[in-house]
């Protein structure tokens, strides 16, 4: 009896050890290195005549903008290179042609001298026209150069008065240059035309549109946008996919951007060694008004056109992006010199442009490629083929019991035989 108790105690101790087993954490992944490229931001302020309207908490729109700028300039992070551009600040006259060229750089993009910048802002007086399109083009030029992220913050109180150059088209052209520029817009008047235009500009570049009615909101939002620019972001590499796999560019692991027109397909090639896994994900952005049913298809095909695996994404309703991805683990080869397999990645989308919307340039496409070691394959549904649950215990107990009985009878029988002999 005592032996049995000891045995039970021992088993319990064993169980406790097992159940308290420590999960071994995987090797720590090293931190990423800091980004060296400094982000650039340009604040583009509408200084047209209408900015003198006094409907922002009792003060004029201009006063609200100035106060917001002062607060934002004080809070701008060190690493951000900030510039200020005005539109409609200088020309008083009625000549449309001259008025629509009126955009000037108030403070050049560079390391910020807060006092100088504030002095420059203080001089502004609401004056002229609203040439949003030309101002955006110039602002994009101001931000040229460097590897950091680029952001334009446009503050306006009215729609562009310089048609036919549609600022929305301008924004899309700027985005299509592939320089990773985002335009955020803030509207100071909640009228439908301004809203549509500013939100169209924002959508075209992956930016945001905010409708502002109070002073506080304005400085909070501009500050938030400048801070957002300071966050380090991976800058994608521009690539140019082709219509056939044979002529497609060969990609290594990384983040890429491209443009894909409606109804067209893009091919890219990736080399995958035996024992490696290809991971690819693709996002196609809706940077203009599109019909509300859409999809994206990413296929991994061999050079001979056989499909290996595919990823599909579909959706409906308002969206910024539709995305999908795939994995392709290539089995280990016995031959050490086995060549890498060329996998063709085919991207197609089923977006359709809403009526009256230009179809060029193509939709922005973002492709992530990662080639990592292949997973250890699964030989059983359960982890290491281990069992679990009461049925398992029951079956094992029953088997053990039957085996014990058989063994006991066998040895008794053998004893009996031995005795009779």
């Amino acid at each position: 009896m005592i032996t049995r108790q000891r045995l039970a105690a021992g088993i319990c101790a064993l169980l406790a050890t097992l159940s308290a087993g420590v999960a071994f954490p995987a090797g720590a992944v090293a931190d990423e290195t800091d980004s060296t490229a400094s982000p650039k931001v340009e604040l583009v302020l509408d200084v047209s005549g209408s900015m003198s309207a006094k409907d922002m908490d009792g003060g004029s729109r201009m006063a609200a903008a100035k106060q917001a700028f002062n607060e934002v300039l004080d809070a701008t992070p060190e690493e951000v290179q900030l510039g200020i551009r005005t539109l409609g600040a200088n020309y008083h006259g009625n000549d449309r042609k001259t008025g629509c060229k009126d955009t000037a750089q108030l403070y050049p993009v560079g390391t910020l001298n807060r006092t100088e910048a504030k002095t420059a802002v203080a001089t502004l007086q609401p004056t002229g026209w609203t040439p949003i399109g030309p101002a955006l083009l110039k602002a994009a030029d101001d931000l040229n150069g460097g590897d950091g992220s680029r952001r334009i913050v446009l503050i306006s109180d009215g729609e562009d008065t310089c048609q036919p150059l549609d600022p929305c088209e301008v924004a899309r052209e700027i985005a299509a240059k592939g320089i990773g520029l985002t335009i955020d817009t803030l509207g100071l008047v909640p009228d439908a035309k301004t809203r549509d235009q500013l939100s169209c500009i924002a959508d075209a570049t992956g930016g945001t549109y905010t409708s502002v009615q109070h002073k506080e909101e304005l400085s909070d939002r501009v500050g938030q946008l400048v801070d957002r620019a300071a966050d380090p972001v991976v800058t994608p590499v521009a690539t140019d996919g082709t219509a056939q796999c044979s002529s497609a560019p060969t990609l290594k692991s990384g983040l890429y951007t491209d443009r894909e027109e409606f109804g067209k397909q893009r091919f890219y090639r990736v080399d995958v060694d035996p024992g490696q896994e290809l991971r690819a994900s693709v996002s196609v952005g809706a940077d203009r008004e599109v019909n509300p049913d859409y999809g994206v298809l990413l296929r991994a095909v061999t050079v001979h056109g056989r499909e290996i695996v595919r990823g599909e994404g579909t959706g409906n309703g308002r969206t910024d992006v539709i995305s999908t991805g795939l994995r392709y683990p290539k089995a280990e080869s016995d031959d050490d010199n086995a060549p890498a397999e060329t996998v063709c990645l085919q991207v197609t989308n089923s977006f359709s442009a809403a009526s009256g919307v230009k179809t060029t340039p193509g939709l922005p496409l973002e492709l992530t490629v990662d080639v990592v070691d292949a997973p250890s394959s699964s030989s059983d549904v359960a982890s290491f083929g281990l069992g679990r649950g009461w049925w398992l215990l029951g079956a094992l107990v029953l088997t053990g019991f039957v085996a014990g009985l058989l063994w006991g009878w066998l040895s008794r029988w053998r004893l009996a035989v031995w005795r009779t002999n």
């Binding site: 039970a8 097992l18 954490p25 992956g206 972001v233 699964s378």
Partner: protein, 271 residues
């Protein structure tokens, strides 16, 4: 005597059989950082700029109606994450529909098992609650499946249907991710060489030659205590207990056939 032995053996077995249940309920190593001190107060606007959020943290973000707000979190094998979002709407607004989408590290949309991921706020409603419970994250799946795998997950919160007059109105949002530890019943064989984290190939290659300076990583988030190696599960306990019980049952069965003491027909030695 014989009866008592059999009885005690049976009792011992019953006691042991209850042990796995105890082992099963042992506390799991899931994330529980809920101090909220360093919780992010803004959200990203794309997959690339998604704000990283630890499980158990309450992320907040203010934005405008129409913004696409992105967060990312890490989920490990055996976890079943639940994403909960609260949207505080402006004082006056027309009816608008908000949606919570969860994507995995390959930007594949993940299905919600439970929870209202899309809801419509009637005119003038002050706030809206959205939730999405994912399927259990498995350590391995076939390449053709889109089962959740360990790695980065993206959450996108946005309004999908609205009156254009509501565009750009200020909203504030809260997001929280918690997960339930499913344990050994979800322990599958096989494992990924690297978690499903975008940009991991770039990151590990820049580790090797540290001279090259890469910019920010696409995703650098990982669970508390790092990614699990995937070999441990409570299946080991169940199987080990099964083995011990089988051995005991074997001994018990053997003992039954032997009877107590010497066989009756065998004369004592020296007679």
């Amino acid at each position: 005597m014989r009866i008592t032995r059999v009885l005690s053996t049976a009792l011992l077995m019953a006691g042991l059989a209850a042990a796995p249940a105890v082992a099963d309920s042992s506390p799991s190593a899931s994330a529980s950082a809920s101090d909220g001190s360093s919780a992010p107060t803004q959200a990203g606007t794309s997959f690339r700029t998604a704000t990283e959020l630890d499980q158990g943290q309450q992320g907040t973000a203010s934005g405008s109606t129409g913004d696409y707000l992105y967060w990312s979190f890490a989920a490990d094998a055996g976890q079943r994450p639940t994403v909960k979002a609260t949207v505080k709407l402006p004082d006056t607004h027309a009816g608008e529909t908000w949606q919570l989408d969860v994507y995995d590290g390959l930007r594949r949309r993940q299905a919600c098992q439970y929870g209202a991921a899309t809801r419509t706020a009637a005119q003038g409603t002050a706030s809206l609650d959205l939730a999405c419970t994912l399927r259990t994250v498995r350590a391995w799946s076939e390449q053709w499946a889109n089962d959740p795998l360990p790695g980065t997950y993206y959450v996108r919160l946005t309004v999908v249907d609205l009156q254009s007059s509501d565009l750009g109105q200020p909203v504030s949002t809260e997001l929280r991710v918690d997960s339930k530890d499913i344990g050994g019943s979800a322990a599958v064989d096989g494992s990924l060489a690297e978690p499903l984290t975008p940009g991991i190939a770039v990151k590990s290659s820049s580790d090797e030659d540290s001279s090259s300076t890469t910019s920010a990583a696409l995703s650098s988030i990982e669970p508390d205590g790092g990614w699990s190696s995937g070999w441990w599960s409570d299946r080991w306990v169940w199987t080990a207990i099964g083995g011990v019980l089988a051995a005991l049952a074997g001994i018990g069965g053997y003992a039954l056939t032997r009877g107590s003491g010497r066989p009756r027909r065998v004369p004592p030695p020296g007679m």
